[in-house]
Structures are given as C-alpha cells and as structure tokens.
C-alpha cells in the first residue's frame, strides 16, 4: 500500500469516526423530535423517517395545546406548560444575573487587590469560593427544606434563585477572575489619573471590556440552572415548579403517551439546543477558561 493510499485510508477512517459520533449525538434528539409527530402505530412499529415511513401528525403537540389547531383555543395542558416554562426562565435568568453580579464584583476584587481576612489571603478566599463546587446538592437540600419552610420560601421562585445562584457562583468567579486578569492594570491606572474612583474605573472602564467573559459566564450559568432538577424537585410543589420537574413528573406517570412525552421533551430542550448552536463560541470560551495553564 503506497503512502497516498494509506493517507486516503486514514482520512476515511477519521471521517467515519466523526460521522459515527455525529450519529450518536444527534440520533436521540432526532428520535425525540420525530416521535412527537408519531401516532401509536408508528411508535410500536418503530417507524423512523417522516413522510417515508409514517405521516407526521401534530398529535404530541396537540396534547400540549401547542399544535396549530389548538394554539388559539384554551388548554389546561398548555397553560401548565407555559407556567413551568416561565418559571424556568425566571429562575435561571434571575440566578444567572445575580451570580454574575456577585461573582464579577468578587472576581474583580480578587484580581486587583490584596485582601487579608484573618489567616485568609486572596488564594485562600478563592479556594473558599471554589470549594463550594464540591458540596453535593444532597448536603444542602434537606437543611434548606427546613430553613425554607421557616422562611416561607418553599415553592417560591425566589428561593430557587438563591440556591441556583449558589451553585453557579464558583464557576462565575472562576471565569471572571481569569477575564479581569487578562485586562491590563494600566487601564485602571489611566482611569484613576482621569479622576475616576475605584468603583468608577470598574464600572465605566473595566466592566465593558470584560463583556465577552460575562456573556460566557452568563450562558454557562443559564444552561446549568435551566437543567437543574434536584433542588427544584425537593423544594417546589405547585407554584414554582420548573420545566425539568414537569418533565420528570410526566415520565413517572404510567401509560403516558410517547408522543406527548416527546413533544414535552422537545419543548424543554429546544431553547438549549438553539443556545448551543448559536452561542457555542461563548460556551466553549467559558468552559476552557484556565485550561492548559
């Protein structure tokens, strides 16, 4: 076998592997989306390709009240779904914004000044924040159940926002500190020369420059909060239920139709799939902060 043939073969193997993994990644998504358009027969006979194997039908979406013909009517299923969807948006956006605010401030402080709190120096303080990552949700879940009952925060979106903020705060601090470290200190000094205070320099000069990092931190927080299930399952019951809890409760019930489950799953993952496709750059840059150093 000549070198050219060998090269061809290795390229073919590479593309075969790439296509194989593409299939692994996409098939479950494809399966879920198409199943939401299937009827019972199509499910049991394992039909896969729309228009060839089976006639797509709005069945799954109708049961959610989201098909074209039911979209403008009243539907209890849809109002429940919309309510959970809004809860998910409010809690994940709220928590991400709060974490971004607290995290950016702390990260800027840790990047620019030297603190001393008892025996703790900057590195210890950073470690203190990062160590929260280790804490498994179960350790906090039951104490929070008791505390939230006393604080009347059970089954509220605000209660969830506090907890979600906590889970993403270390990640935000990690990303933002790296971001601020990359901005030269001379810019702060130039701002001081221009008569800005410490906070003025931070808010008007540094923060706008750190915008890409903030986007990355925000989007990663959003993904983590949107998908969070454990706390939401324990701490919400009726009012503040989020989308994952709704999906999970439907999965558990017996005799649930595949098409409506598929429609629900599709609706739950669609925002994130779109986020992944269009904002992949920010996600990657946020995740790889500090890698390779």
């Amino acid at each position: 076998m000549g070198p050219r043939a060998k090269r061809m073969l290795s390229r073919m193997l590479i593309y075969a592997a790439l296509l194989f993994w593409t299939f692994i990644c996409l098939f479950p998504i494809y399966w879920t989306v198409t199943t939401s358009f299937k009827s019972a027969v199509d499910v049991t006979q394992g039909h896969l390709i729309p228009w060839v194997d089976f006639q797509p039908d709005w069945k799954g979406w109708r049961s959610l009240g989201l098909s074209p013909d039911t979209l403008f009517g009243t539907s209890t299923a849809r109002s429940e779904f919309v309510n959970r969807f809004v809860n998910s948006i409010i809690t994940s956006v709220g928590a991400s914004l709060l974490a971004l605010t607290l995290g950016s401030l702390a990260a800027y402080g840790l990047s620019r000044f030297r603190y001393k709190f008892a025996w703790m120096r900057n590195d210890d303080i950073l470690f203190f924040f990062m160590s929260q990552l280790i804490l498994p949700p179960v350790v906090l879940a039951l104490p929070f159940l008791v505390l939230y009952k006393a604080l009347a925060l059970l089954d509220t979106r605000f209660g969830l926002i506090l907890l979600y903020t906590l889970t993403v705060l270390p990640i935000v601090i990690w990303i933002m500190r790296d971001q601020f470290n990359a901005i030269p200190i001379e810019l702060d000094e130039a701002a001081f020369v221009d008569g800005l205070s410490t906070w003025g320099a931070f808010l008007r000069i540094i923060l706008p420059l750190a915008f890409p990092g903030m986007m990355a931190a925000f989007i990663i927080s959003l993904v983590l909060c949107w998908n969070e299930y454990f706390f939401a399952a324990l701490l919400t019951s009726t009012d503040a239920k989020t989308l994952p809890v709704m999906v999970a409760s439907q999965t558990g019930s017996q005799g649930i139709n595949w098409w409506s489950m598929a429609a629900l799953s599709t609706a739950a993952i669609a925002p994130l799939v779109l986020l992944g496709i269009f904002l992949e750059r920010y996600i990657v840059s946020g995740l790889t902060t500090g890698a390779g150093k």
Binding site: P136, L140, A152, A268, L272
Partner: protein, 372 residues
C-alpha cells in the same frame, strides 16, 4: 470582625489613604453597631416567639432574612465610612462572602444539627434529639453502603469517558473539513437537561418493546435486550447515559489543551520518525497530562453529584443496583420523609468526599510534578 477585613494596596499604585476623618470613622462604627444591635434584637425577639416565651413576633422567619440584608448593607456602608478607599475595595468582595455565608456555611452547620435529630416530617412527634443514633443506623444501612459501592463504579467509569473524549478531541483537532459543524454537534448533548435525557434515551430509545436500540439489538442477535433488568446491565446503561451528557465537557477542555500545544513539538516527533501512536504515547499524552488530570478531577467532582438520571430512569433499581448516594438520600426523604437520617447520610457522604478529594489533589500534584 470588621477589623480583620483589611485590603491593602496591591497591584494598584493608587494609594489607599489611611486617614479618614475621625468623625466619619465614628459615624461608621456607630452605624455598624446600631445595625448589629437591631439585627440581634429582631433575632432574639423571633427566637423567644418561636420558643413560645413571648406572644410578640413574626409569623415566619422571613423578617430575619430582611434584617440580615439590612445589616449587610449597613456593614458595607460602615466599611466605606470607617476605612475609606480600603473600605471601597472590601466592598467588591463582601457581597459574595455574605451571600455564601448565608446560603452555604449557615445551612451546612444547621445541617450538622439536623443530622443529630431523630426527625421524621410525617410523624406527629416532631424533632427529637437522637445523638449518634443516626450514625449507628448508617453503619447498618446496607443500602447506603451499596450506593457508595456503586459510586466507586461510576467514578472509575470516568476514565472510560475520558478515553472517548480524548479520542474525539484528537479527531476534532485533526485536519478536517466542517470542523465547526462537528464541534457544535459534539457539544449538543451537554446542553440537554439530564431529566429530558432520562426520557429521550432511558425511557424511549432503550425501551424494551419498541425502543429503536432494543430493536437494533434484536436484529443483531440479542434475544432479550433488557437494558435495565440485570444489575450490571442497568448500571452500564445509566453510566452510558451519563457519559453521553458529560463527554462533551471533557472533550472541549482537552481540545483547548490540544490547540494550545506548540506545533513544533509534534513536528519534531514526526521528523524523528515517530508514527502516530508513538508520537501520541510519548509526546501528546505527557504534554496533556496536567490538563487531563485537572479535567478528570472536575469531572469526578460532578460525577459524585450524579442523581437526576438515576432518579428518573431506574429509581435506583433493580434492587439498588444503580443507586447513587444522592438518589438514595432523595428517596429516603421522598418516601420516608426522614429529614434527620437523610441529612446524616449526606453529611457522612460529604466527609468521605472531602477526604477522597484531598487525597486525590495531593496525589495529582505529585504526578503532575513528575512530568514537568
């Protein structure tokens, strides 16, 4: 407390002035003092009310939360008044610190207290002090030890995820067309919620009767493709789903490491006549070792929290074969409302994790040092 928070000029040359007018200082101290007194007063009032000593008080503890917030604001203002520029600097860090103390440190300490109680939410008796009863119960709880054993399996399986992710990262860093397309596609599983994945894969793709995976397995000659019937098969299926969701994360970080690797190193290996495997074995892999260990540790930390998929697909079955510690504690609470015992289980788990991770961090430091 306020005296020990000191920020000194570090990277900034702008000098933090040490001299603030005495009157401002006094005002700042008075403010913090007043706020602290107010907070303690509200707390005391509510404590007495909760214990039944006084009739006056609030119906729930939410005012305490508001009082804490007000105290934090007053404390921050006091910092600026008493310490001027240095107070302004401390103000960057204080919100995050007070937040973390309120939502992590305090609940964890409170959790230690709950862990010593015999407290079942569904029983009428209310909490009763049990001392070390819960700990004794844990020692005899075979389900808990079984779940811990499963965690060992799930943790070791991270190595398999790592191997696949490394392969994918190498593929993506090869000279290929449509790299961006493949990167986005390979990233997608990470974006999906584990709960949705539980249904998409666990409950439908792998479904025994009509799931396409089961159909495919039948076509390939496996007569009885039950993915969740036997303990080992169930464990592997859960692990496969978790791997599907988490491989992209490992892959992205390894890919970044590969792209940061100097090109000359690879070319030098090629000039020396190394073939693909040799240059991977002796050049790429050792250079990637620090990144690899970092990502493995992060991944293990997240793996130790695994719960969602198990709760939703198998609920720990068959016979506890797929249980993780988190999913087990979740059921202790959901099915038995046993808050005291559940918290005790969680605290023991936290202790094990801390010991394990400190060992791992120390070991990893030695490995990475040997290489560099």
């Amino acid at each position: 407390m306020q005296n020990s928070v000191t920020a000194s000029a570090d990277r900034h040359h702008k000098h933090a002035s040490r001299h603030t007018p005495d009157r401002r200082k006094a005002a700042g101290r008075a403010l913090v003092l007043l706020a602290s007194l107010g907070f303690l007063l509200v707390l005391l009032l509510q404590l007495l009310h909760a214990l039944g000593a006084t009739a006056m008080g609030f119906s729930d503890w939410r005012p305490i939360l508001i009082a804490y917030l007000l105290w934090v604001v007053a404390f921050g203002a006091g910092q600026i008044l008493t310490r001027g520029e240095r107070g302004q600097r401390a103000l960057f860090l204080l919100p995050a610190v007070f937040f973390t103390v309120a939502v992590v440190i305090f609940p964890t300490i409170f959790g230690l207290y709950i862990a010593s109680l015999d407290w079942n939410l569904s029983s009428v008796d209310g909490p009763r002090f049990g001392g070390l009863d819960n700990l004794r119960g844990i020692l005899n709880d075979t389900y808990y030890w079984n779940a811990l054993g499963n965690m060992v399996f799930y943790t070791v399986a991270v190595l398999g995820e790592y191997a696949i992710a490394f392969g994918l990262a190498l593929l993506l860093s090869a000279d290929i067309r449509a790299r961006r397309f493949f990167r986005v596609v390979f990233l997608l599983p990470m974006m999906l919620s584990p709960v949705a994945v539980s249904w998409m894969i666990g409950k439908s793709l792998l479904e025994y009767r009509f799931g396409p995976a089961a159909t495919l397995a039948r076509d390939l000659g496996w007569d009885n493709p039950a993915f969740f019937a036997s303990p080992w098969m169930a464990r592997l299926s859960i692990q496969a789903m978790d791997a599907w969701v988490s491989i992209p994360f490992i892959m992205i970080i390894l890919l970044a490491g590969l792209q940061a690797m100097p090109k000359e190193v690879q070319e030098a290996a090629k000039v020396d006549g190394a073939n693909g495997w040799q240059s991977f074995r002796h050049v790429t892999f050792p250079i990637m070792l620090p990144v690899s260990i970092t990502v493995l540790i992060i991944r293990i930390i997240f793996k130790l929290k695994l719960a969602d998929i198990v709760i939703n697909v198998t609920a720990g079955g068959p016979g506890g074969a797929t249980d993780t510690v988190s999913s087990f504690i979740y059921r202790v609470y959901r099915d038995r409302s046993n808050v005291g015992y559940g918290t005790a289980l969680a605290m023991v788990y936290l202790l094990i994790i801390i010991v394990l991770l400190s060992l791992l961090l120390r070991l990893s430091r030695r490995w990475t040092q040997n290489v560099v």
